[in-house]
């Protein structure tokens, strides 16, 4: 009799431990989906400050390109605005999400720049003016286009496409295992509160495991060591990863609440059982 009881305890602990790992896997999968691979989460981080920082980067890049050419630097002033940057960045971002290509409309900037350069050439005797202007305007357009590109977002969207393909089947399998193990643990005991205890151990472990690693990374600040530039892009990616880590902590909190509820239910069931006369 004693041996049978010990075996049941061991099996319960093993099942509870396996269940905690399954819950952790499910938590991680869901946390990744709702944070790292969440379009709204990324878009929400790209605010006015980001547009302004990209604007500064674009204008500084245009100036730096212009100085060694010998063309007056003032020709690039006022050819682009923060609103232009905002419009093109959003266009570029949403086209990546949709899997399409985005080509910014540079007609206005192109015309303004040509007019400025021509005005700055007045009085100078340059032989191949048109050729110089064409080459210069093309390069400045490229400076603009390169600054509004978001190559990292392309990789994220590609990864999300692959991830989404396997997410639902994986979650269904994990959910099936959770139901199977959960039901087994409860059915193993005539007094249900005993089975609930093992479920509470599993959800508690899932809470601690979901909390431990992300909390360590957050506290140590490892996620801030990205070798990314410029600064505004670095800040964007750091916020993006921080949000993902915070989501993991939220998932941990969810499991902690579930653990408390399960523990309370087990306690209440046990009291009722004792009242009915069982020990």
């Amino acid at each position: 009799m004693k041996g049978r009881i010990d075996a049941r305890f061991i099996v319960s602990y093993v099942l509870s431990f396996v269940l905690s790992l399954i819950l952790l896997c499910g938590s991680v999968l869901v946390a990744i989906e709702i944070s790292l691979f969440n379009q709204n989460s990324f878009v929400g981080l790209v605010g006015r400050n980001y547009y302004t920082a990209v604007y500064d980067e674009v204008t500084s890049g245009m100036r730096s390109y212009t100085i060694p050419t010998g063309i007056d630097v003032s020709v690039v002033e006022g050819i682009v605005s923060v609103d232009d940057i905002m419009s093109d960045l959003n266009g570029c971002m949403y086209s990546i999400f949709e899997g399409s290509d985005y080509t910014p409309d540079l007609t206005k900037m192109d015309e303004q720049l040509r007019a400025n350069v021509k005005a700055s050439f007045e009085g100078l005797e340059l032989e191949n003016q048109d050729e110089i202007i064409d080459a210069y305007v093309e390069d400045i357009n490229n400076v603009y286009i390169n600054n509004i590109k978001m190559p990292v977002l392309k990789y994220i969207v590609k990864a999300k496409t692959v991830y989404d393909r396997y997410l639902i089947p994986a979650l269904i399998i994990l959910l099936g295992l959770v139901v199977l193990i959960g039901a087994t643990l409860i059915m193993m005991y005539r007094r249900r509160y005993k089975g609930l205890r093992y479920l509470a151990y599993a959800t508690g472990a899932a809470a601690v495991m979901s909390f431990g690693l992300p909390f360590y990374v957050l506290i140590k600040g490892i996620y801030r060591n990205f070798l990314l530039s410029p600064e505004h892009f670095y800040n964007l990616m750091v916020s993006y990863v921080r949000n993902a880590l915070m989501t993991c902590l939220s998932v941990a909190l969810f499991w902690a609440v579930v653990t408390v509820l399960l523990a309370l239910s087990a306690g209440s069931l046990r009291k009722r059982t004792i009242k009915k006369g069982f020990s």
């Binding site: 509870s16 905690s20 100085i67 508690g204 990205f226």
Partner: protein, 233 residues
Amino acid sequence: MKRENSVKLLAYIIMPVIFTILGYVLLAVALKPVWDLALGTATMFMGDREPVFESKLGNIYEAYAPKQGSKPVTEGIVRSSDIPFPELYSKYGEISCERIGISCDVYWGDSDEVLEYGAGNYTGSFPPGYGRMVLLAGHNQTYFLPFQYAEVGDIFKFSTYYGEYEYEVKRVEVYDENDLWSYVVDNLDEKEELVMYTCYPFHVVVGRKTDRMTLFCDRISGPDVQWIEGQFD
């Protein structure tokens, strides 16, 4: 009964902690190949510490320059342990050549931002006095515009926060940018040589300028900086 309840309550904390330790160990062992791959990939875009973005240019030159009235160091030996090494993107000197009319600040680092304010010292080379190449870049429409009048024999005064140097122009040449880079790589550690370059030609051209007008100068005065080989590796 009370003790039994306490033990049961404690189990709700202890068991998850035990499971967590076991779980982390199990995952670490089972997923080792994945971790190794992930960590290897992470080192490509993760550093040891948080990056520092310097948007404001520093000025070590004025902070450490000899006080007014004191004589600048023009000879002898300066120990590197007695002087701070310039921080990235900080002004650490001034360079001038009276004959051709150059006078500008010199910064440690040659970013686009630096070149808007003066000449930039490539950080793979050295500041003056270290017995190694001093590589300076500058824009040809601003600070290095007078390079077009430079000749062999011109004297450049290079004032730093730890000493005053003079360099004499030995060669003036136009290099393709790649050839200049090959020269720099081959000669970085050969001897103390001030190499200053700017885009060439000076007038507006079609497309990007790929030639560099380069001045090669030898040191004729100034203190040596005593430093240990490998100190700046």
